[in-house]
Subunit: 526 residues, 2 copies
């Protein structure tokens, strides 16, 4: 079932000599299949085919595109348990986790089908003509969103389904009408191969143009070729700050710069406010211990920073948290590189002056991530930028501040974040609105209690944030608004009604909500 | 009335030693006032004051912000004829032109006041909680747009009012809730000084925080300091490709990259379709001659490229166009640098093999721009990228194609454009939809007949386009949507209703259209 080939549109291709192998982090075994890295010619062919496909794909009706997305979901389901087992084998994450993630992946595809049928993403604005306006006539102008061209997608190791081959970036780019070229993730080569074939079956079943979807395997160089290709018009990426920034820089250095939507994780600070903390320090500690350890801490929204005020309840919280995390099993991480990086980055943090590790700091080996808590004073944290960096894995740092003033200073000292949480009673927020205000300037999502590790896929989700959480804080990589990353507005001036796109026609044949002369309406224009 | 100082918020400041002088292009005289270039310390002080002001400015009600924008318009009007005369003296453009441009500038400010009262720019999405959802509860999420922080604005020489100190970039950034620091344009130092004082009077009258608006004079280095300042969060720019790209590159090389909205002009191709061309070649030629010569060709949307198919009507069109342009007076251009650049770039174009200038190619001197037509074959145009570049001034190049196939090749060979025009009968579009399709991938605004030089300020305007027309084709610098450049989304999760921003409260106190659980509504949430 796994071919190990690249896919230039529907055509399997393996022209290169470099072979990649898939790795099982649980026992460090190597899967048998050989995956052939794409040559520069294959990358070029994939992008050219995508560009040719764009000419017809962008004109296919929204309804047909919606059916295509739904068919991708069906084809992914049709891969059955084999997909779940392979994803588990390549990531060390349990099969059960992939039942959930597969559901999310398919729901995302269906959600964008619904987005296409709803049509609000087209953002139609119409200003009708006023021929007798003085001193000059007012022309008729009609604006809508259109796709931009081939999109390169780089998936994430921590979500081999939902943020990879047919994940949110691919779904939203296709929904918007753009062909997609996926750079297969090296940490789940087989999973990617299977999903690629599922997508290509949907392309065929739905009669989408050949080149609507392509996939190339390879390493950094393959990725660079994609990003630099003149016919690639945008990039979606989920991963490390280092990787995201490198792609961002490369894209901006092109003769024609293109947008890079890189979601690069964050420390997701939680502010433990005094009234709330006093009410149930142990209960809160257990909630956070579970969130920190969830998925072996391998979430972009894992709570890596807990900021409290020195007090007996905070001491109790720290004690319970550190014990709860110490008591958790060491669990296999996504791959050897990530496990190694976890211990080296964590090691660097806990070696800093003033940082106290609250548990066993040894690496148990076998790619296993051992949860750990550490603590540090607010003043030490403020003085040491090293402690502000994300550590990907089941680790959290408690910052114990002298008072609210120091806590506020910590809030202002933070870099951009995907999320920020106020662990607070209403009375805390009323007493200290300045903390909320400070945190709101740093984050894409602001939580009142709860933990940030759940990311709901919906209209109102913002998954993105000020740099370095993402390279474009104006956009989200989760939820319906993700489609807006891959479109641009065009205005038609004085255009004959019969030749306008349906979305802009007087009769409003798509039944869209439109802003006509400043008023929102579904009515036809007389 | 003109002070020649920088304004660090309300405080006039002139710490530096470098003095700039304003220039009158009509007679190359120098105005008497001395303008003191800002020191690095003054630039830093302006940005720091803007950042402090941001903390309170962003929290000021939309209604008060709207009143502030209206007051700026009033204060600009209160400058009276002195402003129009100064703008005319510094630009060579007639006083009458500035009556129109001042009206547009004030209307833009009032339009953004209306945008603030309407509230649709907040793009509110609310997904309510489903506590008993299986397998996990659905949380309450509420998303809206918030301002991003201090914005640096670089005005344009060709619109000293509407695209400068209190122009569209400033109006939209302030409307969104961001303090603005203007880099005063060296080509209209006095005009900028007067408008700066008008804006500062509005800041004072409306009790806006000190630092909501600042202005620094200086050259390239001053601009670079602004773009590199860590507390500047976005840049608005209108001007040349070279200038815009330099700012874009600088902003992307920052440790924290920031968006640059640079509108850099284009050649604005018009496709002269055969049926239409046959109907009235002389009439069309006169319309285009007037558009090319309008404002001495100093518009971002000036039609610099006219693509037709070899035929008797095209010959007639070319003859009438070239004669009409040759018959027009040479008129003073904006400044000596722009006049010099016009003749050097035009000279480079007409020296290319296969290009035939159809008129007097001499520079009459005294900064005057002499209109000129040239023509070239389609194949020569396709083979020579030099001919694709914008020439800022009253020049247009007619590209004579062998047939529709060659015309289509020209359409595909073009770089990104602000506008593209089909000079066409409906029958032309029906016969050649491929031309429309090709052009639509290249432009922000697609015109059916007419000329591109008018830019309506409204909801449905798109003034921006694929690179190199602008650095961010997803945005417009004209019209209500311009506000979206200076905001970002934030989601509130499980937030207590009483502590939510008004836009997100259950009761919908602002009476906004909101998407609640996927449905557009103005209703309160029960």
């Amino acid at each position: 079932m796994i071919t190990g080939k690249n896919y230039i549109g529907k055509d399997a291709s393996a022209m290169g000599n470099e072979v990649l192998k898939a790795y099982n982090p649980t026992d460090s075994s190597i899967f048998p299949e050989e995956f052939v890295a794409a040559t520069a010619e294959e990358v070029d062919a994939a992008v050219n085919k995508a560009n040719s496909a764009f000419q017809s794909f962008k004109g296919i009706s929204y309804e047909k595109r919606a059916q295509f997305l739904e068919t991708i979901a069906e084809e992914i389901m049709a891969l059955g348990d084999a997909l779940l087992e392979r994803a588990s084998g390549e990531s060390g994450l349990p099969v059960g986790r992939f039942q959930g993630e597969r559901g999310r992946t398919c729901n995302q595809l269906k959600m964008f089908a619904a987005v296409l049928r709803d049509g609000s993403w087209l953002d139609v604005n119409i200003d009708t003509a006023i021929p007798d306006r003085q001193p000059i006539p007012k022309v008729d102008l009609r604006k809508m969103q259109i796709p931009i061209g081939p999109v390169a997608v780089f998936g994430a190791s921590n979500f081999p389904l939902a943020f990879s081959t047919a994940g949110g970036d691919t779904a939203s780019a296709l929904a918007a009408g753009n062909p997609v070229i996926v750079k297969g993730h090296e940490a789940h080569l087989g999973t990617n191969d299977m999903v690629t074939q599922a997508v290509l079956r949907a392309v065929e079943k739905c009669n989408m143009p050949d080149g609507t979807f392509s996939m190339v395997n390879g390493g950094i160089e393959t990725g660079q070729q994609l990003v630099k290709h003149p016919k690639v018009k945008a990039v979606g990426f989920t991963g490390s700050l280092r990787g995201g920034r490198a792609i961002f820089d490369l894209a901006n250095q092109r003769p024609e710069p293109i947008p890079v939507y890189a979601e690069m994780g964050s420390t997701n600070p939680s502010f433990l406010m005094p009234d709330k903390m006093a009410s149930d320090p142990e209960g809160l500690a257990n909630i956070f211990a579970n969130s920190v350890a969830l998925g072996v801490g391998q979430f972009c929204t894992s709570p890596g920073l807990l900021i409290g005020i020195k007090s007996a309840p905070l001491n109790q919280f720290i004690q319970t948290l550190s014990q709860a995390l110490a008591a958790k099993d060491s669990v296999t991480m996504l791959n050897a590189k990530i496990a190694k990086s976890y211990y080296s980055h964590r090691g660097l943090a806990i070696e800093q002056t003033g940082v106290e590790a609250l548990g066993d700091v040894n690496d148990p080996g076998e790619n296993k991530g051992k949860p750990l808590t550490a603590k540090v004073d607010g003043s030490t944290f403020l003085a040491n930028p090293q402690l502000h960096e994300e550590i990907f894995g089941p680790f959290t740092l408690v910052v114990a501040c002298e008072d609210i003033t120091e806590m506020l200073a910590v809030a202002y000292a933070l870099s951009g974040q995907l999320t920020g949480t106020l662990v607070a009673a209403t009375s805390d927020l009323e007493a200290h609105p300045e903390i909320v205000d400070a945190l709101s300037t740093k984050v894409g999502r602001l939580l009142f209690n709860g933990v940030p590790t759940g990311v709901e896929v919906c209209h109102a989700m913002q998954h993105g944030g000020p740099y370095p959480a993402s390279t474009d804080q104006r956009t989200t990589s989760v939820g319906t608004a993700a489609i807006s990353r891959f479109v641009r507005p065009i205005s038609y001036q004085s255009w004959p009604d019969s030749l306008l796109p349906d979305a802009l026609k007087n009769s409003n044949p798509l039944g869209l909500w439109r802003i006509v002369d400043g008023e929102l309406t579904k009515a036809a224009i007389q």
